[in-house]
Symmetry: C2
Subunit: 676 residues, 2 copies
């Protein structure tokens, strides 16, 4: 069955090779004209709820033109378990047949078609079967039949049951965009070597288990943070910009087929507490993916509402809202154009019993037994380096979270937010435990800006937070009950390749002569960031550089760049490497690193920033189930490993609010419902 499915797919793919979807795709998960979503070769946790969509495509023009652009609306679909009897989807899931939907979309077959402005137009007939689940582990074959004889098959695997909760708590740290290369560089900045031996280490260096996860999307080998977070939280890879859904081709970003996330499962099955902490605006992809079900990560207002109230346009499993929600992005909370339906989401959260903190002082004072919202500024949190070293950069910001003019003040950092989150979650989770996701978001954001030092500063803040978290867990007596996982969602192709003598660099007036300041191999020397400099003291503690601005600095970079200047050494101002000119193209920003030499870029000339890269990213694990995280695996396996450790794979429907106390754990409202 598997081989047949592939043979069909390969055969069609070959015939369509001229348009096989590389730069642009008709629909990434659909190589032929009938689409099964979830597509072939997807994995499910037993009992994980999800939607199914079928689409029949009728391209009106272009190299795939078919049936005069009329999609077959008499398609049918069946499902069979382990080669058994095929039953119709509606019968199998005991649903009534959904309504037929129709729409049209267009795409470009390649860049030549884009330049010629000749889109290919596709008419679609579709049906969606909402909120189903597969309970029995095994292999399911879904067959879509259309155009009188064509078929598309998909094989779905339901993984083994996992009903035992081995970790009471899980804390999942995400260094957004963080790679092994960056971790190595951060260690070099903050920790001193003597004759080749580090005198201190990163907290990450002390983790007993290391693994690697592959980050690629379902339909492209480079991912964004939305669909990689989706994979990490749900076990389903998706497409760039998609959160908690498989992408369909419909125009509505909120009707795409959903699947249940780890916090939805955890809430439904164990009634545990859960929280999200981020240095990004909280509607950004990585925190939002815990609760979001949207094709477009930019539907920010909706995402905040989904976090609080769950999915509103369909009946769906939910979380009852986070117990902790700490981050930034006041734009989505202040009543106005940035918030959902213009509502005041500070008030919406408060109505549901949340304490609301807008600064570090009120965060510290928030009661631990109450659900807690903390939104500390507009946009993203200023980075660690600006909060702690180049503090002048914050004075001119207009990011007060209350909507007042002027800068946000009394800002917490990732460590403050995370430790408070643990206090609240530990209290509120009680016997049911908790799940916390804590994100160092600006490792990614600053790597996009090629601001290596600001990125590494935030990486060190993450490491410092991990260290403090271990101590906190020990103090609370829950270190051994808590699985701590630290990983990333994707990389940037950054690495350090030497040092630069800033004094010599500055003394040269010619771009090529400046490059002579760079020392490679033996001339790279040792880190001077750990050498005390008289008069320089930031008070940032043992796990950070003593001097961010030494004469000899790291020289690093990446292969994916816009036009930019390289000067090396910390920028006292945040970086903006390229600017878009009047012709819509990006060029070197002459105000950024003005004494640097120009490097022409490798990216499309509209891009002003660096981009994500392919590399597998590291996974560090400590605590119950840590041994499961060694070796190399897909990002979806991070979900399955965590979900397995949390006992979230049940062979029966564990239903919220069904009354009784006979469900797993001690959630008072939980009951299991036996299925046929």
């Amino acid at each position: 069955m598997l081989l047949n499915a592939h043979a069909v797919a390969l055969c069609l793919a070959a015939s369509l090779s001229a348009v096989s979807g590389q730069t642009f795709q008709r629909l990434g998960t659909c190589p032929d004209l009938g689409c099964v979503i979830p597509p072939d070769q997807q994995d499910f946790l037993p009992g994980q709820e999800f939607d199914i969509r079928f689409e029949i495509h009728a391209p009106k023009n272009g190299s795939e033109a078919f049936n005069n652009g009329v999609p077959d609306d008499k398609f049918s679909a069946t499902i069979a378990k382990d080669g058994g009897k095929a039953r119709s989807i509606a019968e199998f899931f005991k649903l009534s047949e959904p309504a037929l939907e129709k729409w049209t979309f267009s795409w470009f077959e390649d860049l030549f078609a884009r330049d010629a402005k000749t889109p290919s137009v596709v008419n679609v007939a579709s049906k969606a079967y909402r909120r189903v689940a597969l309970y029995a582990p095994g292999t399911y074959t879904v067959t879509l039949s259309y155009y009188s004889g064509k078929t598309t098959t998909a094989e779905w695997t339901v993984r083994p049951l996992a009903t035992k909760k081995k970790a009471k708590n899980v804390i999942f740290f995400i260094g957004d965009g963080m790679t092994t290369n960056m971790i190595t560089a951060a260690r070099l900045l903050a920790h001193k070597t003597v004759n080749g031996r580090y005198q201190s280490h990163l907290a990450l260096d002390d983790f007993p288990v290391v693994g690697h996860q592959m980050t690629h999307s379902i339909d492209s080998f480079i991912t964004d943070s939305a669909n990689s977070a989706t994979a990490l939280y749900s076990g389903h890879k998706s497409s760039v910009n998609a959160l908690g859904v498989y992408a369909d081709s419909s125009p509505d970003p909120l009707d795409d087929p959903k699947f249940e996330t780890i916090v939805e499962l955890l809430h439904r099955i164990w009634g545990s507490a859960w929280g999200a902490v981020s240095t990004a605006f909280i509607a950004d992809a990585t925190p939002a993916a815990l609760t979001a079900h949207s094709r477009l990560r930019s539907t920010y207002g909706v995402l905040v509402d989904q976090a609080l109230n769950g999915v509103q346009n369909y009946s769906w499993t939910g979380t009852g809202g986070p117990d902790v929600y700490f981050g930034t992005g006041a734009e989505q909370f202040l009543a106005g154009p940035g918030s959902y339906q213009g509502k005041d989401y500070y008030a919406e959260f408060a109505k549901k019993g949340y304490s609301v903190s807008l600064n570090k002082t009120s965060l510290a004072a928030a009661p631990n037994d109450k659900r807690a919202l903390g939104i500390f500024c507009k946009s993203n949190l200023p980075v660690w380096l600006d909060r702690n070293v180049f503090t002048d950069n914050m004075a001119s910001a207009k990011n007060d979270p209350s909507g007042a003019d002027g800068p946000a003040k009394d800002l917490p950092g990732l460590k403050d937010m995370t430790l408070k989150a643990i206090d609240v979650l530990h209290k509120r989770g009680g016997k049911n435990g908790f799940f916390l996701m804590s994100e160092a978001a600006s490792i990614d954001k600053q790597m996009h800006a090629l601001d290596y030092d600001r990125a590494l500063g935030d990486l060190l803040e993450l490491d410092d937070t991990v260290r403090a978290t271990m101590k906190k867990l020990e103090e609370l007596g829950i270190l051994d009950d808590t699985l701590v996982v630290v990983s990333a969602d994707h990389g940037h192709g950054f690495d350090v390749f030497g040092s630069s003598d800033t004094k010599y660099f500055a003394a040269q007036t010619d771009d090529r002569a400046k490059r002579e300041a760079i020392g490679v191999y033996q001339n790279s020397g040792l880190s001077q960031y750990t050498t005390p400099k008289p008069g320089v003291s930031y008070g940032t503690g043992a796990n950070f550089p003593l001097n961010w601005d030494p004469r000899y600095v790291i020289a690093g970079g990446q292969g994916a760049n816009p036009d930019h200047r390289e000067q090396y050494g910390v920028g006292h101002k945040p970086r903006e490497p390229a600017k878009v000119g009047a012709n819509g193209e990006a060029y070197v920003n002459n105000e950024d690193r003005p004494n640097g030499f120009v490097v022409n870029g490798t990216l499309p000339t509209g891009d002003t920033q660096g981009v994500h890269s392919l590399t597998d990213v590291p996974v560090y694990a400590r605590g119950p189930c840590q041994e499961a995280f060694g070796g190399t695996y897909s990002n979806i396996d991070v979900f399955f490993k965590m979900a397995g450790c949390l006992g979230l794979g049940w062979g029966k429907n564990v239903t919220e609010g069904a009354g009784g106390a006979d469900g797993p754990g001690c959630h008072p409202k939980r009951a299991t419902v036996e299925l046929p």
Copy 2:
């Protein structure tokens, strides 16, 4: 004691901060004017033999000028264990006092001094204590006293005893310059995904344990392959270009203080067989470091002689010569200017009982019970991609290993060499087992040339070799007795960031327009290297790309570059990105990737190649002791983990050739000698 030593070092370092050795160093391991080598904070295996050198520096001029340039030749040194009584070095090790040595060297304090041609000149007084060992685990403090009151201290740690052999055999694969980023890219080229799931995997992906090792040198944060191989094989970090020695400041590259390597230990203690396989010339750093003791990796002829005959200028532990030595670099074997003393090393090896193979056919026919030399061409082995796909590139080579004109023919690959090596080593090692180092050298060499595809081809060849090795070990019934470790010695900052539409790229005539061909994020699409192309078949097997030259190729690069052109896609000719012009500076090579766009470099303008990078590199382990290789550690720990697993840490002198059969293992000539 530790703190005091650091305080002294820090204090002196601060006072010398203007010249603290970054781009250039007086002597990397010597921050003050008295040098203890091995320096502070070095680790030793119990019983591991090594040399000690003391140097007193008297700078004649420059910012460190001292004592009118007259070095104190009345210096003295003591050693004390665990804070106990200090004894003179000669007394402690029962040696007579060595002769005083004197020399002069010079260095530049920084790039300004280099430009001004104003070197600092240093006169040196020195003594070397040769071939000592520390047997008892613990901490030893060495104190050098000089200039009537100055002291330099060094703390040495002897690690715990390890006398039990837990793995009969160890196979250590080194992908030179290989990073996680490259492994990810290689997987993408050779293995197909369907909707986000890989249909097959790298052999590396199946290893149960992953770790990360830090690669930095003892005195610079970027390493070369010489000193990183030294660290991996001996547990001692060293300086760029150094093999099996700590660098001293003397002019003679063959008098620097040595330390025993893993194959010297293994031969001495267990009488095991050992071998080296490489796709580099066999005198290159990574294979040579197993037996070499030289400050200069470029002393190639000497290194081959050291491999066969051991160190000749001092009494030293040896290996009796390799049981297997397979690689290239006929220049060092053919009688002539490239060989040691102009001798014919094919004949020298033959005299000592080696079979000598110069091609794949004779390699296969070589007897397994005899020691085996195989040298298959001059220079490095042509890369996998040229041997298997672009075979025309080999026709014009003048690399016949016999010295005849014309190209080498009937070349083996890494897999052929490695599998044959296992046959010989298994046979010859018998009950005593074996150690094999097998290196994929051109991952590094081709990354230097920015030839990403050729590098990844050789990475895939390594992976294919690892897969075949596992099968071979199983066939021989020794899979469970054999620790297999796959790692690297350092990285290059390469990563993939998207795809390039080669058709669109070629159709653009302007450098900026060509960049529009690059697809990032969702526009990267999926690998087309795994899609069959009619008429294209290389016959290279399941673990390699089906098509190296698809329309949509990977776009990747690194931050460290000479001026070069980027065209993306496989080059049918090997790459030479930059050329040195008449003024001694490197510029874009107009013949390389002639249709690409120009990217100006970030490296010093004399450099024609990419350089090594900082990143920690992955370690994959499988077999006895595999669990020791998880987490994050130094490259020296790879040695200690392997040596511990092989039972190479003895608290008494296990002496070769002492007669009797009471030693460990069953080596007939082995005896242990109790020490006081």
